[in-house]
């Protein structure tokens, strides 16, 4: 191995890099997302063959309505998994923040408040609940030193219980008509205002993860927390931010569902943790942390949502959905394992 540099160069150049390596790496990465897209197309085809109604603008609009909350939870899940953690509370938190908004809006409108004001209060209530639960997750993990798995399992249970207690287990109806209008008025055939919010948040997440210091440090912590700490990064503070963001996004997901249905259901969000983990791992986010992109997660969320809609359209009972989502996770992780084995060899 010859070197063109002066002095006594250390060993970095001892195995010369073939030029174009970077290009090929990028190509491979794009191919992974191309592959995901192919999987998505194949699924649409299969479902359409079974039920032709699946392949229609209306049906795609419905898929996007399922995609919205999954995508929101999955963005938070992606952040958390990239740091090497996991957030099992997002589904239960979706439910809790949704019914919190519903209760706040019902209470304020019934006392004669202007609907716009009342909806504003509902949104703030949901976001406050999301931020609070995210904060508790973060504190349990960074201060009490619980494993993320345990900490968020505990808050998941707490959220479910609180939801049942404050609703009495029944749906909270009585939303002003504006709620359903905002949630369901379509433009450009398939979009709604909440969906635009989801897409904007997705773009922000993509920019933050790929272009900013926040993203760089998120990857660093997942890649090697010791390295991040001794490089002077305040790892605990960063993790707090990540869990609070995940909580806020779950709350936005709760609002999404509330605006779509016009009521707060204690049952919504059930299985959300599985769906968001599925979206992330299908999208190539490594469960050990430090690897993956949110663009992959977006395709993973689209696939997950399509599977959920498709199963209903071909007549599989909703309770069987969890089985399929579980199988998707196992499959995606297995594929990831194989891929990693080859690339690290």
């Amino acid at each position: 191995m010859t070197s063109e540099t002066k002095g006594m160069p250390l060993t970095l150049q001892s195995s010369p890099v073939r030029s174009g390596r970077n290009e090929r790496l990028k190509e491979f990465a794009t191919r992974q997302e191309t592959l995901l897209f192919a999987v998505f197309a194949l699924m649409v085809l299969v479902f359409s063959l079974v039920n032709p109604r699946y392949f229609s603008t209306a049906a795609f609009g419905n898929i996007l309505q399922d995609f919205g909350p999954v995508m929101l939870m999955a963005i938070g899940q992606t952040l958390v998994i990239l740091t090497g953690g996991i957030d099992l509370s997002v589904g239960a938190l979706l439910g809790l923040s949704g019914v919190s908004a519903a209760l706040a809006i019902r209470a304020t409108t019934s006392s004669g408040m202007d609907p716009a004001m009342s909806i504003g209060i509902g949104i703030v209530a949901a976001l406050a609940v999301g931020a609070f639960v995210g904060l508790v997750n973060g504190l349990l993990i960074t201060r009490v030193k619980l494993a993320p798995f345990i900490a968020t399992l505990a808050t998941m249970g707490a959220c479910m219980g609180t939801t049942l207690v404050i609703t009495g287990g029944v749906q909270i109806a009585g939303a002003p008509k504006e709620v359903v209008l905002i949630g369901n008025t379509r433009f450009l055939e398939i979009l709604t205002t909440p969906l635009v919010v989801v897409l904007v948040l997705l773009v922000i997440a993509w920019l933050s993860l790929s272009r900013t210091r926040f993203g760089r440090r998120t990857y660093a912590i997942g890649s090697n927390p010791f390295a991040a700490r001794v490089a002077g990064i305040n790892v605990n503070r960063h993790l707090m931010k990540v869990y609070v963001i995940a909580g806020l996004l779950a709350a936005v997901a709760g609002l999404f569902v509330y605006f779509r249905l016009g009521s707060g259901s204690p049952a919504s969000g059930r299985g959300g943790e599985l769906q968001s983990i599925a979206a992330a791992v299908i999208g190539g986010i490594s469960l050990v942390g430090g690897v993956g992109r949110v663009t992959g997660t977006a395709l993973g969320a689209l696939i997950t949502a399509s599977v959920l809609s498709g199963l209903i359209l071909i007549g599989i009972e909703p309770n069987a959905q969890q089985i399929v989502v579980g199988a998707l996770i196992a499959f995606a992780v297995a594929v990831q394992g194989i891929g990693r084995h080859n690339s690290r060899a």
Binding site: S3, E4, T5, G7, M8, P9, L10, T11, L12, Q13, S14, S15, P16, V17, R21, N22, L207, S208, R211, T212, R213, F214, R216, R217, Y219, A220, G222, S223, N224, F226, A227, A228, R229, V230, A231, G232, I233, N234, G290, V291, R344
Partner: protein, 253 residues
Amino acid sequence: MSKQPVYEARGISKNYGNVIALDNVDFSVAAGEVVGLVGDNGAGKSTLVKALSGAHKPDAGALYLDGQPVEWNSPHDALERGIETLYQDSSLAPDLSVSANVFLGREEVVPGFWGKLGFLANKSMDARARQELEKVGIAVPSSSRSVAKLSGGQRQAVAIGRAVTWATKVIILDEPTNHLGARQSAEVLHVIKQAREKGLAVIFISHTLPHVLEVTDRIVVMRLGRVAVDAPTSTFTPDSLVKAITGFEVVAS
């Protein structure tokens, strides 16, 4: 030692449960001086390093930088004061690029509005990383390449390069020649000599005693958490150094 120490530790103690890792250790290093820190496995070298670098807080003792008492609440505090450390455990993030690792914790942002939002100046960091690493004699083929794809020796080179790049006062190298071949180790010794010429205080930890004898000005020998010997390198022979480490000098002579 006639020279005023730039960095000094007095009476440092540290326990891990029942294990007394450090017991009332005094240690100092001056600008432009290379101090060798040697001792058997478990003697407490890495624990002392972590106390000096702010990676953990000692149970007792005090640190002085330029004669002023200092206290580290996190590694960040020590880094800010110009103390760089190469840890024995890998302190690189393997999934990040070479330049991202060099700039880890010190990421540069673009100027203006986007910079306030934290947008990274990747091009400028890539270029500067390559430049800084070349300055210490590390040629980087592609500073945007991920560290996971480098060999063990190459990773070590990046870690050393990072420490040398940012150190303004003290540089601590905990077994930097581990996993390196003879030629690569020689290169590390060259980097150490360069750092000394720049006026840095260098702490060099190694089990390869010929290296220690070659490159250091003074040697501190640790045994079971205590400083056993602290003397100029010129007063040691290879034999006497081994004896100082094992503690059998009386029996052997």
